[in-house]
Amino acid sequence: MPSAIEVRGLVKEYGPVRAVRGISFAVPEGSVFAFLGPNGAGKTTTTEILEGLRRPSQGEVRVLGRDPWTEGRALHFETGVIPQDFHFFEKITAREAVEYYSALFHVRPKADDLLARVALTDKADARFDTLSGGQKQKLGLALALVNDPRICFLDEPTTGLDPHARRAIWEVIRKLREEGRTVFLTTHYLEEAQLLADRVAIIHRGQIIAEGSPGEIIQAHGGPARLVVAGGPAVAEFFRGREGVAPTVRDGQVEVPIRSKEEGLGYLDALRSSGIPWGGFTVERDTLEDVFVRLVGRMDDGVLKSEGAA
C-alpha cells in the first residue's frame, strides 16, 4: 500500500528548544494512524508540520507526495483538518459555516448531509457560541470533510468531551476509515488509540519511543499475561507454596504471571484439586495504557537520573 504520509528525520526547533528531535514514520493510505504522547511531547508540532502550518527545521516530509510547507495550497484541497481546540466565528450557525467552507472550496454545499454525518442535525441553525464543546468539535469535523479529503488530520478531537460525545466522534472516525480515507489522529486517550488505530506511534520528548500496531506494541513492551484469582489469604498461600511463583495480592485478588495457557490451566487444575475455596478467575493483559505509562515513566526516570548525575 502506498504511503499517504512519509516523514524522515524530522526536526523542529523553536529557538534553542528542540520540540521534535529527528523522527521518522510512514502512514499507509487508508489506515488510521494514532500519534500518542503526553502533553508537550511534540504531537501538535508534528501534526502542524504535516498540515503545512509550520516549517520543519530539518528532515523530509511528504503528504500525498507533496511538501506541505511549499505546496500547502494544492494539498489543502485533499486534506481536512480539525486543529486542537477548534474555534469558529461566534455568530455564525453550523449550516452557514458549512456553506462558507463549501464556497471557499468551490464544492456544492451539502450542509444537511455533512451535519447528519457528525450527528449535528439538531444544531444546524444554532450559532457557534451557543454550541457545547462536543458540538463544536463535531462542526469542526464536518468542516474538515467539506472538501471530501483523502487525509484527515484530527488533533486531539475528543479532548475534554463527555463519553457520549467522544463515542460519537469515534463513530465518525470509523466511518472515515471504511470510506478508505487516511486518518492521522493525535490523542492522549490510550483507549481511543487502541480502539481506532491500525498503527500507533508513541512520541515522548520529541522522539518516537515505540511504533507498531497496538498489539505489536503491547507484545514488545508489555509484561506477561496475568491469571487473577478471587480468593482470600489461603489462595495466596497456595500459590506461594509453588516453585518459582511470585503472587501479588490486591483487594482480595491474587495475581500470578503466566507464560502460556497451559501454565494457567495447570494452576487452575491444581487450585481446584486443593479444595481451597475461591471465587473465580480472569486473565489480564497489559493495555496500551499500561505500556505507555511504563515506557514514558521509564524514560522520565532515566532522564531524572542522568540529570541528577550531571
Binding site: L53, H76, P83, F89, L104
Partner: protein, 370 residues
C-alpha cells in the same frame, strides 16, 4: 484573487457583523447620536461674538491696535488677526467660508493723528445678515468713539474714520455643515480601527487565521473582503448622516460624486492600518492599546467635531500629520468649498498613505507561523 471566495467571505463577515450589537452600535448608531447631539447643541446660530478676520496693515501703530482692541472689548465681536501674507482678504474669506472681515489700511495712525480721513474696509456677507449687522454696528460704534475723541475744529468734517462696507460673495457655513464631513470621517476612522485591531489579534489568538489558511482563501482575498465590507458600512453611515444633516438641520453641503473616492479610500486605509496595529501586537490587550494610541488623537484633532481652521496654529500643524485630516479636509473641499484641486491633493496624500499601509499590512500579517 477569486471573486467567488471574496463574496463568500464578505457574506460571512456581514452576517457576523450584523449579529453583533456592539459593532453595529459603534458603526451606525453612535455617529447618529453624535450628529444629533452636536447638531442640537450648536445649531443655536449666532451664539457668542461674531469673529472678524482682520488684516492690519498698520500694525506697528498704537492707534490701530487701540482701535482693534476697542472692537474686541465690545464683546459683540472678536478680532482674529490674519497675516498680510494670505493676500486678498475677500478671496481668503471666500475660500474659508468666513462671513466677516476687516482691513485696516497702512497709514491708519498717521492719517488719524493728522486729521486726514481714512477708510477701514469691512467685508460682510448678505447671507449671514445677523453677523453682518452685528459687525457693522460694532465697527461703526468704535469708529464714532475714535472720531469724537479727537478735538474737532469748528466747521470741519470730523468723520476721520469711515467705513467702506463690501459684500463678500462667499458661502457662509454653519457648524452643522462642518459636522457632516467631520462625522463621516469619524466613522471612517473608528468603525474599521476598533474592530480590525480586535479581529486581527483575537483571530490569531483563537487560531482562526490558521484555520482559514487551510482553506483556499488567501490573505489578500480576506483583506479585500474586509475592505469591501467597511466601504459598504461607510456608504451606509454617510447616507444616514447626510440624511439627518440635510433633513433635520438644513445643512447646505454639496452632495456630489466627488466625495466617493474619499468614502472608498478612507475605509481602505483604516482597515489596513487596523490590521497593521493588530498584527504588531502579541496579545489582543496590547493590540487594543496600540489601536487606541493611533485612533484617539485622530478622533479629536482632525476636524471631526470642530473645523481644524479654528484650532490654534500648533494644533493645526499636528492635524496635518494625521491621515484622517486629509480625508475630512478633502470632503470639506468637495462638500463645502467646491475646491476640487485642493480635494485632489488631499486624495493624493491618502492614496500614497494607503499604498504604504496596505503593503505593510500584507508583509506583517501572517496566516501561519514559521
Amino acid at each position: 484573487m477569486n471573486g467567488r471566495r471574496i463574496a463568500a467571505d464578505l457574506k460571512i463577515t456581514a452576517r457576523g457583523y450584523l449579529r453583533n450589537p456592539v459593532a453595529l452600535f459603534f458603526a451606525l448608531v453612535f455617529p447618529l447620536i453624535l450628529i444629533l447631539l452636536f447638531g442640537l447643541i450648536f445649531s443655536g446660530g449666532s451664539a457668542g461674538p461674531v469673529t472678524i478676520y482682520t488684516q492690519n496693515f498698520d500694525h506697528q501703530s498704537p492707534a490701530s491696535q487701540a482701535f482693534l482692541s476697542a472692537l474686541n472689548n465690545t464683546s459683540a465681536v472678536r478680532i482674529q488677526l490674519v497675516p498680510a501674507s494670505v493676500g486678498n482678504l475677500s478671496t481668503y474669506l471666500g475660500q474659508n467660508g468666513y462671513a466677516v472681515g476687516l482691513v485696516v489700511p497702512a497709514g491708519f495712525a498717521s492719517n488719524y493723528s493728522h486729521g486726514v480721513p481714512v477708510h477701514v474696509t469691512l467685508f460682510t456677507n448678505p447671507q449671514a445678515a445677523s453677523s453682518a449687522g452685528i459687525a457693522l454696528g460694532a465697527v461703526q460704534g468704535v469708529a464714532n468713539a475714535f472720531n469724537l475723541a479727537i478735538a474737532c475744529p469748528p466747521l470741519k468734517d470730523c468723520q476721520l474714520i469711515s467705513i467702506a462696507n463690501q459684500n463678500v460673495g462667499s458661502n457662509v457655513y454653519t457648524y452643522i455643515d462642518y459636522l457632516i464631513p467631520g462625522l463621516i470621517g469619524f466613522s471612517i476612522l473608528t468603525s474599521p480601527m476598533f474592530s480590525m485591531v480586535d479581529v486581527t489579534s483575537s483571530y490569531r489568538k483563537e487560531g482562526l487565521f490558521r484555520q482559514l489558511s487551510l482553506t483556499p482563501l488567501t490573505r489578500a482575498e480576506w483583506l479585500t473582503s474586509r475592505i469591501l465590507w467597511y466601504i459598504l458600512l461607510t456608504f451606509l453611515s454617510a447616507a444616514i448622516m447626510l440624511g439627518i444633516g440635510l433633513g433635520v438641520f438644513g445643512a447646505h453641503v454639496t452632495v456630489s460624486l466627488e466625495i466617493l473616492p474619499f468614502l472608498v479610500l478612507g475605509p481602505f486605509f483604516f482597515v489596513a492600518l487596523g490590521m497593521v496595529a493588530g498584527s504588531a501586537a502579541r496579545t489582543p490587550e496590547t493590540a487594543a492599546v496600540i489601536g487606541n494610541i493611533i485612533t484617539f488623537p485622530m478622533m479629536f484633532l482632525t476636524g471631526t467635531f470642530f473645523p481644524v481652521s479654528e484650532f490654534p496654529p500648533a494644533l493645526q500643524l499636528v492635524a496635518r500629520v494625521l491621515p484622517l485630516y486629509y480625508v475630512i479636509d478633502g470632503m470639506n473641499q468637495v462638500m463645502l468649498f467646491g475646491n476640487l484641486t485642493a480635494a485632489g491633493l488631499d486624495l493624493l496624500v491618502i492614496l500614497a498613505a494607503s499604498v504604504v499601509v496596505f503593503v505593510l499590512a500584507i508583509v506583517l500579517f501572517r496566516w501561519r507561523d514559521e
